[in-house]
Assembly symmetry: C2
Homo-oligomer: 437 residues x 2
């Protein structure tokens, strides 16, 4: 979406553009799918009210939104116990809830101390925060076992990685860009408030349609060559020369491309130190949305099962019921090694655990293992281990000669989301326009 956004902006500015896409479809981490005749998103799907660029682009492309279903009780499966809760407050001990409240306030304060320009390395406490993992920070600052574990679950759900693998500074920046934990994890008022009628992928598809034959599919870039005048992009079957190149791929994919004029060591270091999160997205269809009748809204958060995070994905006409959810972090890596049948058994067992025996008889099951996607290498987003932001972060948006960098990882608002991808595409396009030649 970042690349398509760049191309559209440049075309509007009167430039000739060409989009090279590795896959046989556009959209990257947006991906269409189907379950029981119903269109679904195998990739990103939600939009929050603060994500104004995505809303604007959807409107532009004529894709409407509808609200995430939230009426009813959520399920918390935590430390071996299943409970139901309404509102935002899960059923934990009073002490844990008290500590979680303090924790959120502290994160809110710390993230507010970061520059609003997407340069967390310039924060007063950047060095100290970047020396810590989120886990080592939790161990040092959160006392109750329940609050610790809940903080882990939530962050795992947001970043699809274990808290011990992520820099605390990076985590705070992610919070800042996503307007805090509540906005990041919430439905109403948050990043999961609305969905797109017909699926989020349509937005990318329609953006690509406007670019007509300027989009070439099945064209993985193998090498990039630069000289004083031009930049040349090499695919298996062709070479394309241009004045400027915008690379809109996750950092780890950029690291697999050969550059004849070597990138600065700092840029390479960054590319090789930003691994992707790990997640398997799964849809399960039922004849009816039976959970609704029993007062559930379909949402689950869990730290003791495999299918960790679940939402209701039932279509508006309720002709069938659908649940959508995620296996994230280390669980995704472990379950990626299973057969589909074993994974299926596990997911259904988890749904029975959450919603009772009615969950045992689905009519459809569709999974998308992002850990095995060659052209993303994971989802939702790249993360930074400790020390990467402060050592290499400041090169992330710096052009290298005629190469400019886009992609949601380079955003300064809503990094990790479509909205961040769009922002990065607009920024990269303006760099190119400003550079002129």
């Amino acid at each position: 979406m970042a690349g398509l956004q760049s191309a559209l902006k440049l075309k509007q500015a009167g430039k000739r553009v060409l989009v090279l896409e590795a896959r046989d479809r556009v959209g990257g981490r947006a991906m269409p799918g189907e379950i029981c005749g119903q269109t679904i998103d195998l990739g990103g799907q939600w939009v929050g009210p603060q994500q104004t660029l995505l809303h604007a682009q959807a409107r532009e492309q004529g894709v409407r939104t509808y609200p995430q279903h939230t009426r009813g009780a959520s399920v918390l499966s935590f430390n071996g116990k299943v409970s139901r809760y309404t509102s935002d407050i899960p059923r934990l001990s009073l002490l844990s809830l008290l500590e979680l409240g303090l924790l959120e306030r502290r994160w809110q304060k710390e993230m507010a101390s970061l520059p609003t320009t997407g340069e967390p390395w310039a924060a007063a406490k950047a060095e100290e925060w970047d020396a810590h993992t989120l886990e080592s920070w939790i161990l040092g600052h959160v006392r109750t076992a329940e609050a610790r574990e809940f903080a882990r679950v939530v962050t795992r759900a947001v970043l699809c990685t274990e808290p011990r693998q992520v820099s605390y500074l990076y985590f705070l920046e992610y919070l800042r860009q996503g307007r805090g934990l509540k906005a990041l994890t919430g439905a109403e008022g948050g990043a999961q408030q609305d969905k797109f009628v017909g699926g989020a992928w349509q937005i990318s598809k329609r953006m690509a349609d406007r670019l007509e034959d300027s989009v070439k599919l099945n064209a993985p870039v193998l090498a990039v060559e630069q000289d004083d005048q031009t930049v040349t992009v090499v695919t298996e079957t062709a070479r394309y020369s241009a004045r400027r190149l915008i690379m809109a791929v996750p950092p780890i994919l950029a690291s697999k491309i050969v550059f004849n004029q070597p990138l600065p060591s700092k840029r390479n270091a960054l590319h090789e130190r930003m691994p992707m999160g790990s997640v398997i997205k799964i849809h399960v269809a039922y004849k009816h949305a039976f959970w609704r009748q029993r007062g559930f809204n379909g949402s689950v958060v869990s730290n003791d099962r495999h299918f960790n995070v679940v939402f209701d994905q039932t279509p508006d006409d309720e002709r069938l019921g659908i649940l959508v959810g995620f296996i994230d972090g280390d669980q995704a890596i472990a379950m990626s090694a299973m057969t589909e049948e074993s994974r299926y058994q596990q997911v259904i067992a988890d749904l029975v655990h959450y919603f009772g025996q009615e969950a045992a008889n689905p009519i459809g099951y569709v999974e998308q293992d992002w850990t095995r996607e060659q052209w993303s290498r994971g989802c939702y987003v790249a993360h930074m281990p400790p020390g990467v932001m402060t050592s290499f972060g400041d090169i992330i948006r710096q052009p290298c000669g005629r190469i400019h960098w886009a992609g949601t990882e380079t955003a300064t608002e809503w990094m990790g989301y479509f909205d961040g991808a769009l922002q990065s595409g607009i920024r990269a396009a303006s760099e190119v326009v400003a550079a002129a030649l």
Copy 2:
């Protein structure tokens, strides 16, 4: 060296072997060079008394050793002050020295609690240690500013990376494999005790010579294809099929190869989470080893200059004087972006700072920037950020179908050293022999 060792072992076992080498020379992180007519090592060069595999292989190949020069005082340039010291004990405040002594004893005890099998993820405190960076651990356990800073300098010199980028568990495992900090950093009795007459690279060269035309140079591997019967390796110009494949490259290089039968997500995750250290190795030649006459042994450790670690590299006949040293960690990345002239000026200024005005007039200067080496992506060794060892580490030596893994990063003793490379090559070869078909 790992690949060559595997090939020799397999040849001895009666197998047919082929070694594909990306570069125009064998040796990988061993690399020959020359300064003022004197052969030098642009890559690894030392051998310690505990590195029995390397000693044995050198003997086998007829390469002799000679001791690192250590007679005289070492230089410590620390927090803006230059001092000279003899024996192992630098000139720090008594309190700092006391704390460093305690620190070393603690590390000694903790590393001794790790399994001797190279499986640190199985240690009792693995999860906790792997949640910390070395830096966050230092901040929590070392109090005096001097001791903290000295711990940073030493670890930066060993791993060529900033303490905030490395898992504390990985660091302890590195200590264990290298027999503790003293052995890792020391000359006499340690990993820098001896050097090879004519250079360390000769060992690899002579190993390759014994393999005759079974070694193909300039043959970077682009893709690997597996089926039930064979594994096929694809280069730009040819395809080679075999029963078994041993990959002896750093993890990040393995991540750039395309596998038709996708590797397990866990293996990919590991490859994409083990970045290489950053180092520039520099030799400076003088008419005479003037520092010796002034009572210096040529060794420097510094935390306040750029050319952080220096050793005497003068040939035995003393027909000229040579200093060899390193710019490591973030400094290497920063100085890699300079012109060679600016780097030269900085290095000479640093040597003048350490040894006085006589250092200002070198007769030769040779540098090797490992951060820009396409086929190593850094030196001396890959490291693991927090959370990688406990989440993905246990797959590091597990074959994937017909693919076996060698390289110093997979060693269980002396990982990061030639000795570890040899151990890994022997292990991978025996896996192949045991697998038979």
